[in-house]
């Protein structure tokens, strides 16, 4: 299935873009998705703190992702 992944902050640098289309097997949780992303983009292994939202809502533990869902990756930022 195809997903749209939107990235903020340092996750943007890792993906090399604000937004990508990503192909992944059907019925995966957001944890599976992150494991997959770590294989495609190894720098995600370093980013130990990353908030994931699915369709504009903070992803709950084990929450599944469906086709055409919008996944947003939000690393913490500290600037003030």
């Amino acid at each position: 299935m195809k997903l749209t992944i939107i990235a903020y902050g340092i996750a943007r640098d890792i993906l090399g873009s604000n937004s990508i289309e990503y192909e992944i097997e059907d019925s995966v949780s957001h944890e599976n998705l992150l494991e997959n992303l770590k294989k495609t983009y190894p720098d995600f292994n370093k980013l130990t703190s990353l908030m994931i939202a699915i369709n504009s809502e903070y992803a709950k533990k084990g929450q599944m992702i469906s086709e055409n869902d919008e996944v947003v990756l939000i690393p913490p930022v500290s600037g003030g």
């Binding site: 130990t48 939000i74 913490p76 930022v77 500290s78 600037g79």
Partner: protein
């Protein structure tokens, strides 16, 4: 609440608030009786303090330990050229008293630490977090959770801003969103990664608005929502966030530098890399000894100032190993010495170099101690 009264001057000053039906004099009374602590007087602290003062919050705590620097003025609109070198809290108070003499200011010219945070924050109704580093963000969050104070949060990076309201009426807090900090050095601060000057003005103003809504009790706050703003694309997003059942209960304050992987000086715990001072590098330049100088910053930083080193940005260092000498001293430098230490660690681990030296303090130290005509950034 009715014991709060206003002078003629105050009524005239706040008249535009008093005639808003939802706000009216009750809202203004709530502001006047409120005590707000603004942590950090930087990019976010500037609009926060200016608008909270102008709006008539009764007591405002101003907390910072730094002095005003030339590089602050690009975004920290609280300060003027005359303030450079002076304590930020004093410069802020001077400006704010001029803006609204009816506000009571409390100055905290100190660094917020685990030892003093609870004692300082307990006297306030609400905290607005405009700090610039992860240890203090977790400290402010945890102290607010322990004391049951709302934490109006905002944070910025380059063109991006985040705003939320934490620990308000049973809503989520910072650790529900970000249970652990990123590894040190990975997420750059404004000083390392840069920030567009107007961004904190936008984000800090949104933060001030949330503070005023909470104090006056009107509208729907950002509690349970995280607002994201991208100034470059003008895209906004408001994400629903909730309490995470796995967030551990916060019972006491901890060592936040250690929690965030920093040592006592606030620097990343560096592996033991060999170091060379700028004076030693200068002596090396003046001697006949052969050496190689590598600059691991980005090309756009090189254009601001450089030591005529060979430019190999940190991200490309492991793929450029053939350019790095193994038969003479190799001095590696960056802006402050952090990235170059990372570069050396990576090279030593992967390729077993033993001739790499980190320029201590980076090009900033060079500009301070060897070539004072060089621009610092």
């Amino acid at each position: 609440m009715n014991t709060v009264t206003f002078s003629k001057e105050e009524l005239e000053r706040y008249s535009r608030h008093l005639i808003i039906p939802e706000f009216n004099i009750e809202g203004q009374r709530k502001l006047k009786s409120a005590r707000v602590l603004v942590v950090g007087t930087g990019g976010l602290g500037s609009p926060l303090l200016l608008y909270l003062t102008a709006a008539g919050v009764g007591t405002i705590g101003i907390l910072d330990f730094d002095v005003v620097d030339d590089s602050n003025l690009q975004r920290q609109v609280l300060f003027s050229v005359d303030d450079v070198g002076n304590p930020k809290v004093e410069a802020a108070k001077k400006r704010l008293v001029g803006l609204n003499p009816h506000v009571n200011f409390i100055v905290h010219n100190i660094m917020l630490t685990s030892d003093n945070a609870l004692d300082i924050i307990k006297d306030y109704d609400l905290v607005a977090d405009g700090t610039d580093n992860f240890p203090t963000r977790y400290l402010v969050n945890d102290a607010c959770v322990i004391l049951g104070k709302p934490n109006v949060y905002a944070s910025i990076f380059r063109f991006e801003g985040q705003v939320s309201v934490f620990n308000y009426k049973g809503g989520p807090h910072y650790r529900d969103l970000f249970p652990s900090p990123p590894p040190p050095g990975l997420v750059p601060s404004c000083a390392e990664g840069g920030v567009i000057g107007v961004l904190p003005g936008i984000i800090g103003s949104l933060q001030a608005n949330e503070v005023l809504k909470i104090l006056s009790g009107i509208g729907d706050t950002l509690s349970g929502r995280l607002f994201l703003f991208d100034a470059l694309t003008f895209e906004t997003r408001t994400l629903k966030v909730h309490k995470n059942p796995e967030t551990p209960e916060i019972k006491e304050l901890i060592d936040y530098d250690q929690f965030c992987g920093l040592n006592l000086n606030g620097k990343a715990n560096k592996e033991d890399v060999k170091e060379i001072t700028v004076e030693e590098l200068k002596a090396l330049q003046d001697s006949k000894e052969e050496y190689q100088l590598i600059d691991v910053r980005e090309a756009y930083e090189y254009d601001i100032c450089n030591l005529e080193g060979e430019l190999i940005p940190l991200g490309a260092i492991l793929d450029s190993v053939e350019k790095i000498a193994s038969n003479k001293k190799v001095i590696v430098h960056c802006r402050s010495g952090a990235r170059s230490a990372t570069a050396i660690t990576q090279l030593e681990r992967k390729y077993n170099f033993d001739n790499l030296y980190n320029l201590k303090g980076g090009i900033l130290a060079w500009a301070d101690r060897i070539d004072t005509s060089m621009a610092k950034y």
